[in-house]
């Protein structure tokens, strides 16, 4: 929505004068004059870049993102969205963020264990979903950054993902007059630079909230929030066997843990150790959220499991011991999590209630 305000200086002065004279008596007077001014929307106008409200779902914890440092606005968000879907951010001009983060699959790369980027080079990790980022403290499988704004630097500069430099991206955007306009609309200090570029992407990502699955409606006692007996049984089992890691209604406690996957010797991905340099972090990865889990196959940091039953089978009988194995997966000397096949079915039935069609189809985040 564009708000046009007539800017004829004479009228503006008159409005201002009226404001001063009647300020104490007629608080409504200037409003009336302003409304009158709005109706005369010819010639010059100024854009009002309205701020976007961030609403915390009642079943969620408080967000971690500092909205005061980068308050989302209509045009900041729109610029962020345009950047998200623009191949200019990559060295060959084709790989956008949205290339690997597809909305229909909760912003993961459907059908790909590892995403392929520039020159068809492949990464070694499975694309994680983008959802509820404002609530997270650490980003990427290994927590390579602890600020959402700075995250885009990682895929943009990774040589097997977008293979570009931040400097080149900014130069390409500067050369595009429509981007100059978009930055001007979005920011008070309208320069096309890394700060504003990252702020725009930060605003777009921070606003991406998935909170309207059937499960959410169930816990909030909203319409459409019915769970079947099997799903309720699954929720109960989930609470007993899974929620110590996949905690809160974000379904992650944001910790780094070694869940006992046998390391793939061809990749030998050490996980968190790569960031911290600590041997005690070897093979630890961030606990992923389980929201929209039905849409985000394949699973695990290396996408080794194609379906949820394989994941639960692994937790039941495939966990491998090592010095950094999470203690919760070795309770009373037993590796993994005891699960009967009926229990697995119930848990999967519950997990499928975490699909949020509203989010997967939200036009605010859609490429087209």
């Amino acid at each position: 929505m564009r708000v046009n305000i007539y800017q004829a200086t004479g009228l503006k002065k008159l409005v201002a004068l009226v404001c001063i004279v009647f300020r104490s008596i007629w608080t409504l007077m200037p409003m009336v004059f302003l409304l009158y001014a709005c109706s005369n929307n010819e010639e010059e106008y100024i854009l009002i870049n309205e701020s976007l409200a961030f609403e915390v779902p009642s079943n969620f914890p408080e967000p971690h993102y500092d909205f005061d440092a980068n308050p989302p606005t209509k045009y900041g968000f729109e610029l962020g969205k345009r950047l998200f879907y623009d191949g200019k951010l990559s060295s060959n001009g084709f790989i956008s963020c949205g290339f690997c983060h597809e909305q229909a699959f909760a912003f993961t790369h459907h059908g790909h264990q590892f995403s392929h980027g520039i020159d068809d080079l492949e990464g070694t990790r499975n694309t994680p979903p983008i959802q509820n980022m404002a609530f997270l403290k650490e980003f990427a499988w290994d927590g390579a950054t602890s600020h959402l704004d700075l995250f885009p630097i990682i895929p943009i500069t990774n040589e097997v993902e977008m293979g570009e430099t931040m400097g080149n991206v900014i130069n390409k955007l500067k050369a595009d007059s429509s981007y100059q306009e978009a930055f001007e609309m979005a920011f008070d200090d309208p320069e096309v630079n890394t700060e504003n570029f990252l702020k725009a992407l930060g605003q777009f990502m921070a606003m991406m909230v998935s909170s309207n699955s059937r499960y959410d409606k169930y816990v909030r006692n909203e319409e459409g929030g019915q769970l079947t007996d099997l799903e309720k049984q699954g929720l109960d089992l989930f609470g007993q066997k899974c929620s110590s890691c996949h905690g809160t209604d974000l379904f992650t406690d944001s910790s780094f843990r070694n869940n006992g996957l046998p390391p793939n010797p061809q990749l030998d991905d050490v996980g968190r150790e790569e960031v911290s340099g600590a041997l005690s972090d070897k093979y630890k990865f961030k606990v992923p959220s389980l929201r929209n889990i039905d849409k985000t196959a394949p699973y695990m940091h290396d996408g080794r499991f194609g379906n949820l039953m394989s994941v639960l089978d692994f937790y039941e009988s495939g966990v491998v011991d090592s010095s950094t194995l999470d203690p919760l997966l070795k309770l009373e000397g037993r590796l993994g999590i005891p699960l009967t096949s009926n229990e697995k079915e119930a848990i999967i039935a519950f997990l499928l209630t975490l699909t949020d069609e509203t989010y997967l189809n939200d036009q605010r985040f859609a490429e087209y």
Binding site: S146, T194, G277
Partner: protein, 265 residues
């Protein structure tokens, strides 16, 4: 009692006189001026020349340095009465780079006075990093253009020290790479340096001054902690060695001399 009062009064007036005569020197320092800090990189008492072999260090390692860059930040100056002037944080981040001839930090509009101590940080503190896009401003672009971004974790390299070396054991010319920075949220390698100035640096409307630092890059490996390239020549995210290198780096700075109002007006 009366005598006491009188003597106190005399003592007090003496102190006043003492103060005012002292004041005459600082009285002349009004307004503000700039202080520049020159980072003069050297190696074991010699010039640091990119691509030229250096004589062996105490570990018997001969280094040829191809890159020496580091981030200095959060500048503060302590005056002769012990008050600390903090240079505006947002403008207080700089890259020093041998290959790019970035060796001078200019701090404008320092309040007039006599300063006895220079303090600064090496690297980027967590507070700044966690300000996100807002906090990094243009510094991120500057850091990237001088190879000071650790792009794979969107963090900064506080030190980028590269080249090749030989030793008694490693006889073939072997590449070394030391990239030191914070390790995500798990290990903060930002450190601070405090340097007492042998001559007070003075600054005012009439006087811009400079502090000339000499840097001994040999200390990156051999100082409080002994880092042997022969043992490990690529050190990037090492939970043990990286913090040791961070400490060594804080020890490589030395005040050589001060120019008070020299050549700036």
């Amino acid at each position: 009692m009366k005598l006491n009062l009188i003597s106190t009064a005399i003592l007090f007036s003496l102190i006043m006189v003492g103060c005012s005569s002292n004041d005459t020197t600082t009285d002349q320092l009004t307004g503000s001026g700039s202080i520049s800090i020159k980072y003069d990189n050297g190696y074991n008492g010699n010039d640091l020349i990119i691509g030229a072999a250096n004589s062996a260090n105490s570990n018997g390692e001969n280094l040829t340095i191809t890159r020496l860059s580091y981030i200095v930040s959060n500048f503060r100056l302590v005056n002769s009465t012990g008050e600390e002037y903090v240079f505006p944080k947002d403008e207080s981040y700089f890259v020093i780079s041998q290959e790019a001839d970035l060796d001078n930090v200019v701090l404008p509009e320092i309040p007039a006075g006599e300063y006895t101590t220079l303090k600064f940080g090496v690297g980027v503190d967590q507070e700044k990093y966690l300000q996100g896009a807002e906090g990094q401003g243009d510094f991120l672009a500057l850091a990237e253009s001088h190879h000071m971004m650790w792009s794979w974790q969107a963090g900064y390299k506080f030190l980028n020290f590269e080249g090749s070396f030989t030793s008694e054991i490693v006889t073939d010319d072997t590449e070394f790479k030391i990239h030191m920075g914070s390790h995500g949220s798990s290990l903060d390698n930002y450190k601070e340096v405090t340097l007492a100035l042998q001559t007070n640096v003075r600054v005012s409307d009439e006087m811009d001054s400079s502090i000339h630092l000499k840097i001994d890059a040999a200390k990156i490996l051999v100082s409080s902690n002994n880092i042997q390239l022969t043992e490990k020549s690529v050190i990037m995210v090492d939970e043990v060695k990286s913090p040791q290198i961070a400490v060594n780096v804080t020890e490589m700075f030395e005040v050589d001399h001060i120019h008070n109002g020299d050549g700036h007006n």
